[in-house]
Amino acid sequence: MTFEDLQIGSILVSTVRNAPVLIFAGMAGLFAERSGVIDIGLEGKILASAFVSAAVAFATQNPWYGVAAGMLVSVLLATLQAYVAITQKGNQLVAGIAINIAMSGLTFVVAQFFFQQGGRTPDLGQARLFDVVLPGSAAVEGIPFIGWLYAHLIGGHSVLVYLAFGLVPLVHWVLYHTRFGLRLRACGENPHAADAAGVSVERQRYTAMLIAGVLCSFSGAYLAIVQSGFFLRDMSAGAGYLALTAMVFGNWRPVYTFLGCLMFGFFGAVQIQIEGVDLPLVGRLPGSLIQMVPYVVTVIVLAGLMAKSVAPKALGTPFVKSR
């Protein structure tokens, strides 16, 4: 195989398909962190919602019940995290990491308890969310570029993919053009100023965490009932951390975070394509070295192109009325 065989189309479609897990989680993290709460617990919430949505979708044979149940659990976890971080004024990193570790264990134990398949849920079969075929796809299929664009790049994905991509402008709008967003950003930058302006910092942060819970659940649901069709232990495989990375990479801004997610999706897809291919200059690289492409690219981009990333100033500090 040669370099020309790189399937750009396939890479793009794959990017679109891979990104939603990160986009949902990234946007979730964005809400939490712009309000001043570090959300390193994305991973745990993704995993929990992945399990619950798969289990419920299987039990009810209805994917939407699965999505709803996953949302419920993710929101519960987010509430716990909020309680620890906001009410108890505990360490936010610890809370997040605790949730990640606890969920990694608990999802397995519960899955094993109910399904006896080694921490796996049964195959969802018809209870998955299937891809949407845009009207007229069949008709344009034959047209060279347009057909592919319409039927495969734009069309042919799950509803959740459209939700993920639609979320980005929505989040941008909410963050920068609504009262809620203004208050949210104020709480993350200078909660004392928000408080003095009559904004309840606690309520604002709780709300942000709830939204984070909801968004994060889609990430888990997407993994389990769209991409895989079942739940498997630890199937989040670091997606939460990657989403967090995309967010820091994107300087805590929705559009840039989105680009960060796409970047991971894109280089993940490129990496698949160049495995076992003779590359110009370097020749054929061992598969395991190719695995590091997305990560190396991130470091290079971060070091070379990006300005210093600036976190919300109050990120990670509990709001205490004191000097």
Partner: protein, 310 residues
């Protein structure tokens, strides 16, 4: 009296959809037939393997089955300390008068899978998806490629690995994504040797209407109609046999390499894939099988240090 038996899984755990699970199934069959119980433990690290082997040996177990090459060093060490306890090491080789090391000629079973795949493929493009790039997985890949090229030297095999960390065995999304990417490149039969991640591959193949090949246990029944066959590795039989021999007093130490001839590996043909295996395919596969058993065809094992010819 009944023998006291134990089984130690490696980090993958007894539900890894791979050799641990297969071992568990073999032990369970033994238990069902003989009503003799066994103790089972999972050793999550090499250090724990030694600890648990020693712990079980102290309980005066008669036989301990250690599943997975990761336990090789631990078995070697503990077996020396407890000469009365018998050890069965799966997938690795340890020396000792009380050790039976059982390895499998994965390349032979994979060869058959490759033959079947090359016959069934229309595009003459085959895919291979491994969990992590380690010698064992490469052995599968190489056997598969040899089989495919034996059918038609023009067949192309593209190969991808899920990742490099232990997550890689539990990442069905990636397993599916790799399959999609291979299908986009024209592949129409894919062989998944990636534990839980491989389930994502099988699933995607079904969704895309392509063919997939399962591994380790007979996975034909997972998605009947799209699973061409499974490359079965009879860890279950090995464990079952060892326990049985223990019970009957016929067990012997030594090193056993189980290939097609010894019934260690095979391909799976049952009602689930009957329709996919045309008579020509069956004939060709069975022919290759016979040639290998008869020694007419030698499948290269890359672990012996020879580069993969295919």
């Amino acid at each position: 009296a009944d023998p006291k038996l134990g089984i130690v899984y490696d980090a993958g755990g007894k539900f890894d959809k791979s050799f641990n699970q297969s071992a568990f199934e073999g032990a369970s069959r033994f238990k069902k037939e003989t009503n003799i119980n066994f103790i089972e433990v999972q050793a999550s690290s090499d250090t724990q393997a030694e600890q648990v082997l020693r712990g079980l040996a102290r309980k005066n177990l008669d036989m301990i089955a250690s599943i997975g090459f990761a336990q090789q060093a631990a078995v070697q060490k503990v077996a020396k300390e407890f000469p009365k306890v018998r050890f069965v090491l799966i997938d690795g080789v340890a020396q000792g008068a009380n050790i039976n090391s059982i390895t499998f000629k994965e390349e032979e079973g994979s060869y058959l899978a490759g033959v079947a795949a090359a016959m069934a493929s229309k595009s003459k493009k085959l895919g291979f998806i491994g969990g992590v790039d380690i010698p064992l997985i490469r052995t599968f890949a190489c056997g598969y490629a040899q089989g495919a090229k034996a059918v038609n030297p023009k067949v192309e095999v593209s190969s991808n690995m899920v990742g490099t960390t232990s997550d890689s065995w539990n990442n069905p999304a990636k397993g599916g994504e790799l399959a999609r990417s291979q299908f986009d490149r024209g592949v129409d039969v894919v062989f998944a040797v990636a534990g839980g991640s491989g389930l994502g591959t099988l699933q995607t193949a079904k969704e895309k209407g392509k063919l997939a090949i399962g591994v380790d246990s007979n996975q034909n029944g997972l998605y009947p109609g799209t699973i061409l066959t499974s490359m079965v590795k009879h860890v279950d039989v090995a464990v079952y046999d060892a326990f049985m021999q223990m019970k009957n007093g016929t067990w012997k130490a030594g090193v056993t390499a189980k290939g097609l001839k010894e019934g260690g590996v095979d391909w799976a043909l049952d009602e689930n894939n009957r329709k996919l295996i045309t008579p020509e395919i069956e004939k060709r596969v069975m022919g290759a099988r016979k040639d290998i058993i008869d020694g007419k065809v030698k499948v290269i094992d890359i672990r012996s240090g020879v580069a993969c010819p295919a």
